[in-house]
Amino acid sequence: MATIRMTIDGEDRTVEAADPDMPLLYALRGELGLKGPKFGCGLSQCGACTVIVEGVATRSCVTPVFAVEGMAVRTLDGLARDGRPHPVQAAFIAEEAAQCGYCTNGWIMTTVAGLEENPNRSEADIRQMLTGLKCRCGTHMAILRAVRRAADEMAG
């Protein structure tokens, strides 16, 4: 049994993993009971499991839990601060940019990482930032409106 320490949404947390190769997703969903990162493919192909590790959008379904030892992990669950949604969340709510909402975690976390790095993005940049994420319901138009709104808001 390996004990792995990390910071989750600003709090020090410890995960007990029988198999250190276990993907981070199973620690977040299982032991820590988070609702944001979701299982979609387990193959790093859809993005539903995305978290931000040290500022980088990361697919937690293929990231071994030992690989984030000592690192700072941000999740959708901890994005809102003091009851206030992150600007990206506020934009997704305003645009109603979800249908079933199962993939939404990936779009929001990828957007947060991208816009916090640089909010000045053209339409083409935004699409490039989001390429590879899957949405089965076809919510892409509302998502693009929400990301545009968030980028404008964050660029000030």
């Binding site: 198999d19 299982g30 949604p85 079933c100 199962y102 929001i108 319901c137 076809g138 919510t139 138009m141």
Partner: protein
């Protein structure tokens, strides 16, 4: 987890009579998170004739509506809340909607045929109107005034002439309504009730028709909403199913020692179904991967996907009809039509080829079951929980009244997807192990083993006279039955584990024909079905997928009308208008012509230098709605990439309940339709499905999303609400294919329109 703990949990359940379970890790009590569950945890008798079955009002005036359908992500619960708020005269923010729990909601047929508003809202509209009437009657007594002297505003009844004389709904609810409703004695989509009260005239609507914010959105964005995937049960096992490498192989020998290195993992077998269970989820995943199974030697069952359409052409017919989904048999006679066509000045013939498609949900199937002796509780994101309950009762050998299915939100489901499968597998595993079990399918199962949209070859023939008028119209759809797996899970034979444990598959036959109002002379439309490629537990078993068979049928019919129009040298919209008879079909077609700035001319466009561009139109009516779509495409000759840059959609679904979610729903119809048209095709070799992940089965990426989708909704306040979850989707394949023809002068008749196929066709 020990047996002692399991016992403790069960004693607790018995003692409290309440549904109590905890979320993993946090130890949070679900009752604290979900007021709806906390308010009324007890299972209660559900009688459509009892007003209390439909509507509950708390002493502080909060309203709960009980809805026997569920939302797949288009905001149906908000629309239902609007309808209830409208009739009850309460603020919509005070109405919450409980969906799909068999112990708490009447059987309204689940998510089905774009019927959430079209049919599902009707009983609640009447129930809410009746509830308002009862409150006004009680207020008349309490305030000692005649009912005509009273008004209602946000759940408060007051004397119109002296508004300070008032009483609130919460003060009058007492033990409920205790009021009987008339019921048409139907369950399912057609369930209808009414009371003494007449619902409001649509002309007086204030909440219905308003862009009310969707109630589900904040929970999805803030990660507070509980999906079925989040539910955990104390002491539960994690189950994973083990699938054969050759689709029709059955297990001969299972080597249990092959997983002895994984703590707590063990094998469960029932019939030809093999699974592993473990206390820890990751261990269950590892065990399913490591388990060594000797499978039977079989004849490979499939022709391979490149030989699919030849197989469909040559296979023996097993069923036929000349009407769509639910009609009775109507005879047809193609002979005279073919004679009329062959005697024509100009004759046209075309064949359209449609692939198998996968529901490919964002997450594959999940389900939890707790089977304890003669009762069972199931958590599922099924589209039809009441039907699933009946099927579970049969496969478990329990009475239906002892089985409760609790619907929880899941990844969108657009038809008979894999949603029911894991619930059935969890139920069997729970019964076999005596523990609660959670089954989560893996990605390769979601793509590889979900029910598929049926592949087809559609043959069309037509004749034109010297003046370009139609002389005959022949339409034959030939494919696998869309009812190989029926559209609900009320029979175990319609699940994978059912077939693996000895339930023989059903034999229902269905494909369909397009239903628009074109008044073609000498017309015949019919369908034929062929036998499945594999008789039992097939990964290519077919079922309903969004607007069942309609996108396939309309790809052919609406493409062929364009082919005939082109042969007649006519503008595609003008040509359609010559033959249409339904005024609402004509209206949407004229509206989309205006909206898109359509240039009246025949297709194809004259080819210009540089990038190829074109526009195409397509029409659909069904589910109580009328849609015409114009697509503008760009085609890259070098790569074969087709990019629908812009869509214009004219949409009439009767009275609009929520214009904001209607627009996003239409956008979803369009974008998912693009995905099915341009990218989606199940691939398989002779032994198995080979497109088992998002690389093998690509769907639309954001780089391919259109630049804009312009929508014009025609709000017909005087018409009943139609469906919106499917009708626009149906128009997309032909709108794109017609635009592609307009741009290139080449007609593409096989879906999907992949770059390889288009590039090859342009040479």
């Amino acid at each position: 987890m020990t047996d002692t703990l399991t016992m403790d949990r069960r004693s607790l359940l018995k003692a409290s009579g309440a549904l109590v379970f905890t979320l993993a890790g946090g130890g949070l009590d679900i009752l604290a998170l979900s007021p709806a569950l906390a308010e009324m945890p007890q299972a209660r008798p559900i009688a459509p004739t009892d007003l209390d079955t439909w509507i509950a009002v708390s002493t502080d005036g909060e309203v709960t509506a009980f809805f026997g359908k569920m939302d797949m992500g288009q905001g149906v619960d908000t629309a239902i809340a609007q309808v209830v708020a409208e009739e009850l005269d309460v603020d919509v923010s005070r109405v919450s909607v409980v969906m799909g729990d068999t112990a708490r909601t009447p059987n309204q047929g689940g998510a089905s045929g774009s019927s959430g508003c079209r049919l599902g809202a009707n009983p609640l509209r009447h129930a809410a109107a009746e509830a308002r009437r009862v409150f006004v009657e009680r207020a008349a007594q309490a305030l000692d005034r005649p009912a005509q002297a009273l008004s209602v505003q946000n759940g408060v009844v007051f004397v119109t002439a002296e508004p300070k004389t008032r009483i609130s709904y919460g003060e009058m609810i007492a033990q409920g309504f205790d009021t009987a409703l008339d019921w048409n004695e139907q369950y399912g989509n057609g369930l209808m009730v009414s009371g003494e009260a007449q619902p409001k005239s649509p002309l007086d609507y204030a909440v219905v028709g308003a862009p009310v914010a969707r109630k589900d959105i904040p929970g999805k964005i803030l990660a507070t909403m509980e999906y079925c995937h989040h539910v955990t049960l104390p002491g539960m096992l994690h189950g994973r199913s083990v699938r054969p490498p050759v689709a029709n192989a059955v297990p001969v020998r299972v080597d249990e020692t092959s997983i002895s290195h994984i703590p707590d993992a063990r094998v469960v077998r029932k019939g030809d179904y093999v699974a592993v269970v473990a206390d820890d989820e990751w261990n269950a995943i590892r065990a399913a991967k490591d388990l060594k199974v000797a499978w039977s030697e079989t004849q490979p069952p499939f022709p391979g996907h490149e030989a699919l359409h030849d197989h469909i052409r040559k296979a023996q017919k097993v069923g036929d009809n000349s009407v769509a989904n639910f009609g009775k048999y109507v005879p047809y006679e193609p002979g005279p039509v073919l004679e009329a066509i062959s005697a024509s000045a100009k004759r046209l013939e075309a064949e359209y080829e449609l692939p198998f498609q996968s529901h490919a949900r964002m997450a594959p199937s999940v389900g939890l079951a707790d089977v304890t002796g003669d009762t069972a509780t199931i958590w599922s994101d099924t589209q039809k929980s009441h039907n699933q309950r009946d099927g579970l009762a049969k496969i478990l050998g329990l009475k239906p009244e002892n089985v409760r299915v609790i619907w929880k939100p899941g990844p969108g489901s657009y038809g008979r997807s894999d949603a029911d499968e894991a619930a059935f597998e969890a139920a069997i595993l729970s019964q076999e192990t005596g523990r609660p079990v959670r089954v989560q399918w893996m990605r390769h199962e979601g793509h590889g083993w979900d029910p598929k949209a049926p592949a087809a070859v559609i043959s069309c023939k037509a004749g034109l006279d010297e003046k370009g008028k139609l002389t005959g119209w022949y339409y034959r759809a030939r494919g696998f039955s869309g009812w190989e797996v029926m559209f609900n899970a009320s029979e175990p034979r319609d699940t994978l584990i059912g077939q693996l444990t000895g339930w023989e598959r059903g034999k229902a036959q269905n494909y369909g024909v397009p239903g628009e109002s074109y008044d073609f002379p000498n017309a015949v439309k019919f369908w034929e079905t062929i036998a499945p490629l594999q008789d039992r537990a097939s990964p290519l078993r077919c079922a309903h997928m969004r607007a069942p068979q309609e996108p396939q049928l309309h790809f052919a019919s609406e493409s062929f009308i364009d082919e005939v129009a082109a042969a007649a040298g006519a503008d595609p919209i003008e040509f359609r208008l010559q033959y249409l008879t339904d005024p609402r079909e004509i209206a949407v077609l004229e509206e989309v012509r205006r909206l898109s700035g359509w240039e009246t001319r025949p297709s194809p466009a004259l080819r210009k230098a540089g990038r190829l561009t074109g526009r195409g139109v397509s029409l659909n009516s069904g589910f109580g709605a009328y849609v015409a779509t114009v697509c503008e495409v760009e085609v890259d000759e070098e790569t074969g990439r087709v990019w629908p840059r812009k869509f214009h959609v004219a949409h009439d679904c009767g009275v609009v309940i929520n214009p904001k979610s209607l627009r996003t729903t239409i956008e979803g119809n369009v974008v998912q339709g693009m995905s099915r048209t341009l990218f989606e095709e199940v691939r398989f070799d002779e032994t198995a499905v080979t497109s088992i992940d998002w690389l093998g089965y690509p769907i639309l990426d954001v780089m391919d999303a259109p630049e804009a989708i312009e929508i014009s909704t025609i709000n017909r306040v005087e018409e009943p609400a139609g469906g919106a979850g499917e009708p626009a989707h149906v128009t997309i394949p032909a709108a794109i294919a017609n635009a592609l023809f307009d741009a290139t002068g080449v007609r593409f008749r096989r879906l999907p329109l992949t770059p390889e196929r288009v590039k090859a066709g342009l040479v």
